[in-house]
Each structure stands twice: as C-alpha cells, then as structure tokens.
Amino acid sequence: MIELQLISGLVSAAILFLLASGLSLIFGVCHVLNLAHGAFFLLATFLAYMVTSQLAVTEFDFWIALILVPLAVAGVGAVAEITLFRRLYGANILLQVLPTIALIFIISDLVRFFWGLEPLAVPTPTGFNFPIELFGVFFPSYYAVVVVAGALVALLIWFLVYKTDWGLLIRAVSQDRDMARALGVKANRIFTSVFALGTGLAGVGGVLFAPIGGANLGTDMDAVIEAFAVVVVGGLGSVWGSAVAALLIGMLKAFGILIVPQFALAFVFGLMAIVLVIRPTGLFGARE
C-alpha cells in the first residue's frame, strides 16, 4: 500500500518538479512572477497531441515531440521575454504581473481556437505500453519514463547552472544584477535564455504529462497553482529547492488522499501559507 503510493507520488513529483524548476529559475534570475507558466505547460500538451496524433508521421513521434515541443515552447517564451517582459523590468510590480495574466488569456484562448473544446488523448510512446508488476500491482511502464526523464532533467539543470560558464553568469545576475552588468555581463541575453529555459522546462513537463492526463483546457490554472506552491516551499530561485519541494508535495498529495481524502488539496495551500509565514524564502531560498 505505502510502496504504491510512494511510486505514484514520485510520478507526480517529477511533473511538479519540471513545472516548478522553470518557474523558480525565471523568478530567481529575471524577478518575474510568471503566472502564465501553466499556460506554457498547457500549450506543450496540445503541441504534443499535434505531433503524435495529428501529424503522426513515425513510430517515434513521442520522442520527436519530447525534443521539438519544448524547443517550440521555449521559443514562445523567448519571444514573450524580448517583446514584452524586457520592457517591463524596471516598472512597478503591477505592470510585471498583469502581462503574465494577459498571456494566460491569450495562450489558452489560442489553444481553444486551434484545437477546440474537447479533451484530447495523447498516445504513450510505442514500446512502453506494457505494464510492469510492482508490489502486486501493474504500473504502466511509461511512468518509469516520466520518473527517469525527470531525474535526467534535474541533473541537466544542475550541470548547466553549476558547471557551465552560462550557469555562472546566471548565478551572478541573480545575486547582484547591477554588479554583474558593471562587470560586462550582457544581462539581456541572460534573461532571455533563462526565460527560454524556464518555459522549455514547462514544455518538457507538458509533453511527459500528456500521455497520462491528455490535453485539456483548464490544465493551465491547476498547473500554475501547484507549481507556485512547490516554488514557495522550495524557495524562489533554488532549483534544488524545487526538487525537494516537488518530492515533498508529490508525497503529500499521494498520502494525503489516503489520510484525509476530502482536504488533500487544501493541505497544499495550507503548507504554502505556513511556509510563507514562517520562512518566506522557503527551504532553500537565499535569505533576504
């Protein structure tokens, strides 16, 4: 019983991590509360549908989608940053938050325009349709793909942020933007690339999620609210924090439904509020 919930909690955690890490990065570096993050996730699920079901060219469509869709979503994110957010960095915070709300409306309505109102199914990648037996229960093997992919992406981000020059610049800019600029760092390019990476991560999450949950309107609001809870608990700007918090909240949901099925979700907001009150910067966020 417990083992089963652990495993399914792990799957939730993987998706949550992909969502939250992108959001955390964008806030940590660009100081933008990207409320539209869920909309990018939503877009990715529908693009995954498009590649795997509408275009349906090869047997490896899913893997093609897993590469192309996050790139496309990252592209949209980069465009949004260049045309929109870059102009608003110095402005008051109302002017930074509202355009993200506007993006939610725009992206989700465009998705409705192109794909309609009905929920759409996205096929699992061929070769992963067989079930694995674990603890007396059959798990779809695809879930293993999700967990492994989540872990790989986490490693990739860690590598990028801590082991590359680009990562060094990101950390510099997020710690002290003005100083970094004074030292010659092209902050603009950093911002764009971080925005692209952040939304690209949401894109990966969306593609991985699509065979599980399908492509449905309304996913954007649910996704962003949960992502925020994770980011708050883990600490804005800390990828490591997102990972830990994603595990924590994934498990909270998985076990919460066993203990108090009625209020599992309220727990998540409650936790979010408690963390903000007691330790606003989260578990791993930088102390202000």
Binding site: L95, A102, A266
Partner: protein, 328 residues
C-alpha cells in the same frame, strides 16, 4: 519672477478647481440620470459597475497608495457578501444589521490575513495573499452546508422597496458615493500621505520614525472593509453570493481594472471599471474568444499606456501642478 509664477499657478489652480467642479457636476447629473431612460440593461450594468468600481477603489488603497499588490482581494469581497447573505438567510437579520455585518466581517478577516502578509514584501507578499485567498475560496467551496458550495448561497432578498432595479441603483449610488468620499478623505489625509511615502521609500519612512508595518496593516483592514461593502451590495443585488466571487479570477479582474484606469490617480479605478465593464459586455457579443481580446488589451495598455487612462485627466490640471505631481 516668483510672484509672477505664483500668480500664474494660483490662477491656474483656481481654474483647475473650477474645471474639476464642472466635471464633477456633469458626471453627477449623468449618474443621476441613468435610470431616466428606463432602459433596464443600462441600469443593471450601471449598478454592477458601481459595485466593481468600489471594489477596485478599495484595492487601490493597497496597490496605488500603498504599493502593495494584493492578489487575494476577492476574499474580502466574498466575505462581505457571504456574511450578509448568511445572516439574512439563516438568522433573518434585519437588512441594515446584515449590511453592517458584512464589511465588519471582511475587515476582521483582513486584520488576520493582513497581520501575516504585511510582514513580507514584494513577490512574497503577493504569493501569500494568493495562498490565503485560495484557502478562503476552498473553505467557501467545501463548507457546502453553510455556503451552498458551488451551488451558491441563495434564499435571501433585499427589503421589498429595494427589489426595483432603479431604486437599488440609487441606493448603490448613494452607498458608493459615500464610500468614495470616505476613501478620498483617507487617501488625502496624513495617513494616506504616509502610505505613499512608505510606498516610495520604505527605508526612509522607517528612518523618520514611521511604523511601516502598522500603517500597512491599517491600510489592509480599510481596504478589506470597503471591499466588504461592495460584496454586500453585490449579494443583495444578485439575490445570491457565488463561490467565484472569491476566486482568483475576480482578484485578477480587479488588478486589470487598476492597470486600465491607472493606479496612481484616485479616480483611476473608477474610469477603469467603466471601461472594463464596457469591454467585458461588448466583446463577448462579437466573439466567444473574448479572453484573447481582453488579454491583448491588457498587453497594449501595459506597453503603451502604462499609467492608465486616468493620465488623460491631466489635461484638467494646469501645467505647473502637473509637473509637480510627476516629480513626486
């Protein structure tokens, strides 16, 4: 030279206040005349706009004057309405008592939530207001026995004389006007000035001895109170209170209106509310993709008219004073 400038600006100031008076008179006449046409949709929409304007005006005390972006203001709006509705429905409370209880309950909730939120700044403040608002929403949704959950709270009405749309409109107009006046006095009072000083430079304010947290907390409570008034007006007008009044979307709508109208001017929310209502009513009659258009409008305003529409009101002020305001 100074005397000349002084003469000019004083003369200009007098002219400005005359112009303002004319505008106020014209608007008052127009507002009073709305039901004269007898056209029900106009009366109904005007009433809804008044309620919306009050809600956003209360939010602007926090956002525009206090520099605190609250994404959970809908919680107080809902609390005001639900409290009045619950009292009216289950306890058969007289109208005036329920009407007073709503804003009071909202103010109490604002005191609790505000005490926790004002300890934080910037993004953290925003997120905590969001988290609390979601909690309030969840409680209203889940406590079906009390609030009706997503079926809504129905089964109460305003007193008989208020059932007529026209009468209710004048009633709402009177209440909202009184609230506008009260908020105006608050915003222009020393308290209001302190609030803007905190907004502009919290460190300097602390340095000169202002208790920043206390002032912000007070603002939070006042804002919650007036949001509660709007909620009660809404509950009685619609003969019911529904859970989406506490939803994030309602808070977001209010912020959009602040952007449209401009948060730096007292009247910004009023203008924004009217414009938003017009957009919200007319665009859906043309297309089902109205969120897309509203989103584009928001982007356009954010990029090209970030101060909001109220900026155009500057033509009513003489140049010297305009320049003075901009520096401040």
């Amino acid at each position: 030279m100074n005397a000349r400038v002084e003469q000019m600006t004083q003369g200009g100031a007098a002219a400005a206040s005359r112009r303002t008076l004319y505008v106020l008179a014209a608007v008052s006449i127009l507002l009073l005349a709305i039901p004269v046409f007898g056209y029900q949709p106009l009366i109904i929409n005007a009433t809804d706009t008044l309620i919306l304007a009050l809600l956003v005006l209360s939010l602007n005390l926090l956002v525009g004057y206090g520099g605190m972006i609250s994404m959970g203001h809908a919680a107080f709006f809902a609390t005001g309405g639900y409290t009045a509705g619950l009292l009216a429905k289950f306890v058969d409370t007289p109208f005036l008592v329920a009407f007073a209880a709503g804003p009071l309950a909202a103010a109490i909730l604002a005191a609790i939530i505000g005490a926790l939120c004002v300890r934080l700044t910037h993004a953290y403040f925003i997120m905590l207001t969001l988290a609390f608002a979601q909690l309030v929403y969840t409680v209203i949704w889940k406590w079906r026995g009390l609030t009706g959950g997503d079926d809504g709270l129905i089964g109460f009405s305003p007193p008989t004389f208020l059932l007529n749309n026209t009468v209710y409109y004048y009633f709402a107009l009177a209440v909202v006007t009184a609230c506008i006046y009260a908020l105006y006095r608050i915003c222009e009072s020393p308290f209001g000035r302190t609030l803007t000083a905190i907004r502009d430079n919290p460190d300097r304010a602390t340095f000169i001895g202002v208790n920043v947290r206390a002032k912000q907390w007070t603002a939070f409570i006042i804002a919650g109170f007036f949001a509660g008034v709007a909620g009660v007006l809404q509950a009685y007008f619609h003969r019911g209170m529904f859970v989406n009044a506490a939803h994030f979307i309602t808070s977001a709508d209010a912020l959009v209106i602040l952007l449209l109208g401009g948060s730096r001017w007292f009247v910004g929310p009023l203008i924004g509310a009217v414009v938003f209502k017009i957009l919200f009513i007319s665009i859906p009659t043309i297309t089902v993709y109205w969120p897309l258009f509203i989103g584009l409008v928001i982007l356009a305003v954010a990029l090209f008219m970030p101060d909001g529409l109220a900026k155009f009101g500057d033509i009513l002020r003489p140049k010297a004073i305009v320049r003075e305001r901009k520096r401040a």
